[in-house]
Chain length 714, copies 2
């Protein structure tokens, strides 16, 4: 649950207010779909034991509709030709209120809920006896699980117009709802609006951001309101006034959209939707309100300062980082130990705890790899291509950082250090979000690492995102964040791909194949197959499917391979052909990532059939051929369209460290930008630099293009 | 409007059927929100002059709820301890029907619509007099704009259970709706379901695809139904049976989701949602049902065959393509002339017509550039990096095609030829969607080009998408399409980015700056500024903002620059400083792409201020400095973080052809994959090839990594 919404856990009594813009359609008639969804939600809350009070607008508009129709029905033809006067507002209210209540009554009855009507005037509230009586009545109704439905008693009110002659007690249904929330000691007031909540500017302006938590000190001046809502008396200004009043008097308020069919339920589940008003909000903000956007912008600004440094200065930051890690080892192990102890207590799996634990050799390994990165050739500003476009007009394509990278990783705190080192080497800003089980480890590592960043760059270069709830906000920032790297389960990667426009680098599936050709050295094949499946069965580069040439099923080769795997405790499933032949159970699907000591075996007729199988069922991660026939090997290497294709070597080699890339950001099966294991290069892009002495295009007249490739070293 | 939905234009009488799964919530109570939205939609149709007939389920479930409650209220404590028998279904129907109708009545009344109830039994339909009477009654109601609401008269039906004793006339509300649609001569039957329509497999399986148009001959065998819907008698099998029956007897049917609040309206606007059943559907399919998915898969298969060819064979395809273009010039100009004539008649802008027209020199230019591409060094299979990982374990990083690229372009038919040539050169499959104004030109060019593709590859390598409605389907195929390139307006690019998970290459804004430093040669500056703004003002690489060093405002340089622009007819807007100084009108925003003879001028204090301005307000497309001070120039070139940064040369040089890249796919301001003008290289990615002799990882024990970089030429 979002920490700014934790208070909803203790909510028991809730006031919900719906305004005219929610209750009414654009044609002035009732929005029956939205009203229905409102009743369904209130019924659900009532069932769950919440005490629900509704404040509803909409009666006057509804009455106006009815009376217009009535006037038409009463009219003679000559009446209709006369100009039609405005309908009396009080009359509209009288007609509309009974009509509205009849609808609520039948809707709630359908849901086995009893509702009741309470019409109040503002003057009443001056009278203490009235307030006491009202409170008692509402309590009696709520005890019987009846929903009280409030509205201003407009029909018999003597106020002339809203605002003009306000008594200062309440002047519209927003302020009535606020007043009732306080009088009836509600734990929460939900104001349903026609927009998602309070925005920093007019909601129609794409630059306006939804404010999740209203802080009076901060937002009172900043916010510019758009036009008042078309319908109803309230609008957002009125809602914010009512919300601030109620919140600072003790009842928290959430403004959210009444257009969605489940927002009230979501609010009470603690989801971060809408805008919350709470008297303690200013206390939360030190943790929260460095908003995702500010964090990303700060990382970008710092990354630009990092790029301005020369290569030696960036190298020194990495060396300082390595030293800081060494010097802080005991502190890091202390914090990591606390995470590990908590994870053990919570009964996490052994493999997770092993990934979580920062043993001394892991830390020294990290230090070593940072020093290796420091000594690597400068990757930024490399000239990739140099062309003379025309006389004295020289074009260069040079490498440069991507900008800001968001990395979301699970459990391994060492990933934080690796990725941070890669980011500094490649001149990028970084936002990191680690798993909650490594919370303390990540915090100390982040502190140690950023201590090595000089003030000229600023430690906001590497931001540590601490709240899960910030992720959706970050994923929206496609104008500031350039790449997202999710390192974790298939589910995490898919979810992130589904919810952002920012390019995502990663792999969802790792369905790797080993194809053993008829010409294979069978001992080598056994060795490779064993390693590919059992060296680390849960890895994404582990073998999931073994394809075997048909001839090997006749000369005993297949049996040897299967026996080797079974000897290692691997559970074997067959494709249709293999399962018939070997009498083993058949797999459900060839597109199967076991991630454990299990694999699929199938028989294929030749290398082309193997290639087709891989294209049809694989995930284009890593695939391997075992053969002594180099022609067959080259066919396989040339045609298999995967990020990594191997001949006579285990699929487990597909890894940044084993590939000699230094640290690894992740492995990509995307075809765009970076593919396979991704190191520093994957965090770089390029720019085009053109140096001339006054050349202009002028319709391409008067310039003679030479387009001569020049040597890269100037 | 989608051609498969064109028939809805002539629909006047429509039968809508809602089943229990739509009308009821998961807890068995009425789904008031959905019912409300249903009534709102029917009211809207009624208003628009449609004749609306509703067939509704839900009464039995509703009655069961009510009777349970009734039984509870009637019970003594000892009654409650006895086991509770099942409630009588007929009794439930009797109670539920009146309750359901009461709700419809009040909902429709709120919308000023009158509804009516018609309960029928299946036996009645044997009687011709009954059928005539029913039809007369419904006609009378519809004449009065009253909505007839049908249900089976379950309470007094003698049928024992659905299916078991079916009379064969109707047996559930789906078949009743189909029967009524025919009896009442409806023009359309809409069956509302709890899923989007008919899928090729169980809707929960992500591989199942929504079938837009049901073709009996094709789909009858293919489709595998999932479990029957949990609620109601019908389920999808029943719906399809009813739909096939009605459609082939003359009333078209659309199955769509009743969960959305506006699907009935959308169906009647001809949107391609849900599944349509129409007796003529098999006639449409020759045009339509090469589905987007099949097209993309065919392009991918062909691209794999293209990759298998050797370099010389691919070169020959390009040469054949160039020749085919030359030989077909007169035919191409004929078809293009027809497009141009039509565009002129439709009163399109001159600039569009100029882009549309294929003059002889444009065609010969295309032929020339294809021949240039043919003679280019082979881009596929280039070794980019070569590393010895360990003894006899050699890793290569090689270039390879992306896979399948979808290009969406407007008006310029020559783009089709350029992009197709690039795709063949780079071994990619291609899907092309051109503007409708170039329909005939694109069709002939596509035909001519694909005629040059040998049968071993297949002409489906390059697919021409002819219907706009296919675009949303194509954008969903992130498993088959690897890159989308929209070439057109900012709006087009943004829309596409918003609606796909496939990486998008393109630029939305082109806000290019020229910064004139105090040390600039002012004549050179005038020349560059004039060219950058006026060579082609609507181009994305045209200057939009001129930044001028403060010193030039004191020595007359600024005045000269402004005069030069004004002399060319450029409308000048100032930033706050420039507008005060020059007494010109102030711009609304620095983030302004005029795309016409207009620009913003602002004064900055120095090169750093210029860089900050560009970072804050630019779009990272192309920015230029004019200066004689090489140190200042290098600061600008080094720090401005745009795709292209120029010194003393016009921004208009930022272009694939001028950069010597041959043809151009587009210009990218994305930081991922390809940046700036994109030629062949932007259609390539890489693979890792590892050649060993049996090496395994085995926990990295027993292997000695050398990680030695090897020369690229083996």
């Amino acid at each position: 649950m979002d920490p700014t919404r934790a208070f909803v856990k203790s909510v028991r009594r809730v006031v919900v207010k719906v305004g005219t813009a929610v209750v009414t359609r654009s044609d002035g008639r009732l929005a029956l779909g939205r009203l229905g969804a409102l009743c369904e939600q209130l019924k659900e809350l009532n069932n769950k034991g919440y005490e629900v009070i509704l404040v509803t607008s909409g009666a006057v508009g509804l009455g106006r509709q009815r009376l217009r129709y009535r006037r038409l029905a009463n009219s003679s033809f000559s009446d209709l030709q006369k100009p039609q006067g405005e309908l009396d507002g009080k009359a509209c209210a009288a007609v509309g209120q009974s009509s509205l209540m009849a609808l609520y009554d039948i809707m709630f009855s359908q849901l086995d809920v009893t509702s009741s009507q309470l019409l109040v005037n503002d003057g009443f509230f001056r009278d203490a006896a009235f307030r006491k009586q009202l409170s008692d009545t509402v309590n009696s109704l709520l005890d019987l699980r009846v929903i009280p439905i409030f509205n201003e008693n407009d029909a018999v009110s003597t106020r002339k117009a809203p605002y003009e002659d306000s008594s200062g007690i309440f002047w519209d249904n927003d302020s009535l709802a606020g007043l009732l929330a306080l009088e009836l000691k509600a734990d929460l007031l939900v104001l349903l609006s026609d927009v998602e909540g309070l925005y920093s500017g007019p909601p129609s302006d794409p630059k306006s951001k939804l404010i999740h938590t209203y802080v009076k000190e901060k937002h009172q001046r900043e916010i510019t309101f758009g036009d008042k809502s078309r319908l109803g008396r309230g609008g957002m200004t009125a809602k914010v006034n009512a919300a601030v009043c109620a919140a600072y008097a003790g009842t928290p308020v959430i403004i959210t959209s009444g257009y969605a069919t489940d927002n009230i339920i979501r609010v009470l589940q603690g989801e971060r939707i809408g805008t919350v008003f709470h008297k303690d909000a200013h206390l939360w903000t030190s943790i929260k309100e460095v908003s995702a956007h500010e964090m990303a912008v700060a990382a970008r600004d710092s990354s630009r300062r990092l790029q301005v440094l020369n290569s030696e200065e960036r190298r020194k930051i990495l060396l300082a980082m390595a030293e800081a890690l060494e010097n802080s080892e005991s502190m890091i192990r202390l914090e990591n130990g606390a995470d590990v102890a908590e994870a053990e207590e919570a009964g996490y799996e052994k493999s997770l705890i092993s990934r979580l634990t920062l043993r001394p050799e892991k830390i020294s390994g990290l230090v070593k790899s940072i020093r290796m990165l420091a000594d690597m050739e400068e990757p930024i500003g490399q000239i990739l291509k140099r062309t003379e476009l025309a006389d004295k007009l020289i074009l260069e394509k040079i490498s440069c950082p991507l900008g800001v990278v968001l990395v979301i990783f699970e459990s391994r705190p060492d990933a934080l250090v690796q990725i941070a080192a890669l980011a500094i080497r490649s001149g990028n800003g970084l936002l990191l979000k680690g798993g909650k089980e490594a919370k303390r480890s990540n915090a100390i590592l982040h502190k140690v690492i950023t201590s090595a960043i000089p003030d000229t760059v600023g430690d906001k270069l590497i931001g540590l995102v601490t709240s899960r709830e910030d992720i959706p906000d970050l994923l929206k920032l496609d104008d500031v964040i350039d790449l997202v790297v999710p390192r974790g389960s298939n589910k995490l990667v898919s979810q992130i791909k589904d919810s952002t426009k920012i390019p995502v680098l990663g792999h969802a599936d790792g369905i790797c194949h080993v194809y053993v050709d008829k010409t294979a050295n069978i001992n080598m094949a056994k060795q490779i197959v064993r390693d590919a499946k059992t060296d680390y069965a849960a890895a994404c580069n582990a073998m999931e499917t073994l394809l075997v040439h048909i001839d090997l099923s006749r000369n005993g080769g297949l049996d040897e391979l299967v026996a080797e795997l079974q000897h290692q405790g691997v559970q074997i499933y067959g494709g249709p052909r293999a399962s018939a032949l070997l009498n083993i159970s058949e797999t459900n699907s060839f597109h199967q990532e076991y991630s454990s000591l299990a694999c699929t075996v199938e028989i294929v007729d030749n290398v082309y059939a193997a290639i087709d199988h891989i294209h049809q069922h694989g995930s284009a991660h890593t695939d391997c051929i075992v053969t002594e026939d180099s022609e067959v090997a080259e066919t396989f290497l040339g045609q298999v369209d995967s990020a990594a294709v191997f001949h006579n070597a285990s699929t487990r080699f597909c890894d940044g460290a084993r590939f000699g890339l230094g640290a690894e950001v992740g492995i990509s099966t995307s075809r765009i930008h970076a593919r396979g294991p991704v190191g520093v290069e994957g965090l770089l892009t390029n720019r085009w630099i053109l140096r001339g002495n006054g050349q202009v295009v002028n319709g391409d007249r008067g310039i003679t293009y030479t387009h001569k490739e020049l040597p890269i070293k100037a």
